[in-house]
């Protein structure tokens, strides 16, 4: 079962690199923001999978929870900031 978890997390890491294209080359600030938000959501799943692989899920689930909170707050804050300021 750990090998399956390892394969899934490597596949999700590949998806993260594909989304990184949109963060680096995306036209405008909002495309970059979408890419960063998607990468944060995928990282949350990868953290829980890493916890199962290492056998220390009781520690990694807290890290994943904090990551979910932080991703949400960062997206809301930056969206509000650029809504007031206007796109560059």
């Amino acid at each position: 079962m750990e090998r399956f978890f390892l394969a899934v997390s490597i596949l999700l890491g590949l998806f993260v690199f594909l989304c990184l294209y949109r963060v680096v080359f995306g036209p405008g600030i909002f495309n970059r923001l979408v890419g960063a938000s998607v990468i944060g959501t995928k990282t949350l799943t990868i953290l829980v999978l890493i916890g199962f692989i290492y056998g220390r899920i009781d520690m990694f689930v807290d890290i994943s929870l904090v990551y979910a909170l932080l991703n949400f707050i960062v997206t809301i804050a930056v969206a509000k900031y650029f809504q007031r300021k206007g796109a560059i």
Binding site: V34, T41, L44, V48
Partner: protein
């Protein structure tokens, strides 16, 4: 129970793949949000449900389910806030004939 967890993880990974392809291939910002906002939420929900089933009924499994419920509530909220910020700062939507929809002012403040 492990077979159900494997099936749910495979379904979640499929939805992640769909969201990534949509993010890379769609023509403008709004359709990219349309692709990623829904499929990422569903992929996270299915993956974390499978992992919670694998963890069993314990404190850790309940915590993983709590993360799933939290993502299910917050990810559409973040998508909506981002989309409204982009629309208010006049990011042009993609149209078929290339003309801009900006003259029509579809949303009054």
């Amino acid at each position: 129970m492990e077979i159900v967890a494997i099936l749910l993880l495979c379904a979640g990974t499929f939805f992640y793949l769909t969201g990534t392809v949509g993010l890379l291939r769609f023509p403008d910002f709004y359709s990219r949000m349309h692709a990623t906002g829904k499929s990422d939420t569903l992929g996270t929900l299915l993956s974390l449900l499978g992992l919670a089933l694998y963890a069993g009924f314990s404190f850790t499994g309940v915590k993983i389910l709590f993360i799933a419920v939290f993502v299910f509530l917050t990810s559409p909220t973040a998508t909506h806030a981002l989309l409204r910020a982009a629309f208010d700062s006049k990011v042009p939507p993609w149209t078929k004939d290339g003309r801009s929809l900006r003259d029509q002012e579809t949303r009054k403040k």
